[in-house]
Point group: C2
Chain length 248, copies 2
């Protein structure tokens, strides 16, 4: 009982097979949580080699439709693909695309537990030991771009001289030197008016529109690596991003 694959389009067999299986899954035949036929069974059903079957299943796995477990089988985990866009970053701190030589000039540093008000603003639990750096971001001698507060988990924080040198890609340094890569970033962007306290070090006027970004960096286990909060006077900064649809 061999099933014919649609060969009209001239597509390779493994693509035709992937499409046939995708259609079956979308139709709910193997419903979410159920098992797909085994590779061997698919070989027989569609009259193709195991390599071809595996190539087709690889496509479905890459689209996130199925999950495969040696010994257990191939289970359906979704019945349709979601749009899925990627943002490529040279490093985590490309999130904010400062000029390459825009450094963080610390105005004050402190180590201690996370303040209650700060924790609330970030929506995280207070306490824990954090290395806090408050500073101005920009090229030395020029009008600053931003005011930044960074809270770095104390046990993995770099020495302050390192922060000044590297111009702010702290999480890259932590991944490299401490072996704790960032797995997840949560970012909030909003607009607000500059307060007087903020306006002075930025050489700007209070009430001026500003872009505020708040970011939380987490490791694989969900532990906080760092928190950052920046204020950019409106006319000095635009946040540009490119999102690409992931190949499916």
């Amino acid at each position: 009982m061999t099933v014919m694959l649609d060969n009209a389009s001239g597509a390779p067999r493994y693509m035709a097979l992937a499409e046939a299986l995708r259609a079956r899954i979308a139709g709910g035949d193997p419903a979410i949580g159920e098992l797909l036929p085994t590779e061997h069974a698919l070989c027989e059903t569609y009259g193709v080699s195991r390599h071809t079957v595996r190539e087709a299943l690889r496509l479905l796995a890459e689209s996130g439709l199925i999950a495969r477990r040696r010994g257990a089988g191939t289970v359906v985990v979704a019945n349709q693909t979601h749009d899925h866009f990627t943002q490529r970053l040279g490093g985590v701190d490309d999130l904010m695309q400062y000029a390459r030589d825009a450094k963080l000039l610390p105005r004050s540093t402190r180590t201690g537990p996370l303040d209650g008000a700060v924790a609330r603003a970030f929506g995280v639990a207070a306490g824990g030991e954090f290395f806090h750096v408050f500073g101005v971001r920009g090229r030395p001698g020029e009008t600053p771009i931003a005011l930044t507060d960074v809270y770095i988990r104390a046990d993995i924080a770099p020495p302050v001289e390192t922060i000044v040198e590297m111009g702010g890609s702290v999480t890259d340094w932590i991944a490299r030197e401490r072996g704790v890569p960032t797995a997840r970033i949560e970012q909030s962007i909003s607009a607000g008016a500059l307060t007087e306290r903020e306006a002075e070090p930025l050489n700007a006027e209070a009430g001026e529109a500003a872009l505020r970004t708040r970011r939380r960096y987490y490791d694989k286990g969900g532990r906080i690596i760092a928190l950052s909060d920046s204020v950019h006077p409106g006319e000095r900064f635009t946040y540009d991003m490119v999102l690409l649809r992931e190949a499916e």
Copy 2:
């Protein structure tokens, strides 16, 4: 002259081979732009089958280190992997996360070539036929969230009633009904003060801080699908995003 692969770690051969090649590329032996040895040559050099070689090269291609072209060879396109974060979206218009029932209420519509000033603001060429919708975004009867200008390529634009109904996920509709999926989105976010013209329909005050987002939607061939420009009064909107490190 077979080269031994590092088998100490117990890793599969194709992974060991991929790691060996990655190290060579990182060392600059095949520099960026240069060709890797052919599959056949790699089989001989490392004493493995072609399938194993291809599996290793697939890993490198997925990491973005190499690009492969039938007939031409395998070229090095990068010497180290970049961090690579993904943003998952249920649909393209999740970019701006409005409440599900926040609809676009058109105030005016027009079809015609792209105005010179508008084209400059978006950084694209003027001309072409576009369907322009200007409207207010929000729940009917409540304080509006945003002011939006959308320019949709006229040949694939939906009827205006459809836009009102669906609450703004125009590009999803175009992908589904016109068969033109969005492949690339460019987004710029900045802060600025509300102008008087903008303040009135938003029930806000001129000079208030606002978040401005400008987006360009492109299809696979680089043709513009749509352009959008929105202004959100500062206190009414925060743009939240989550970025996940991609498994490599």
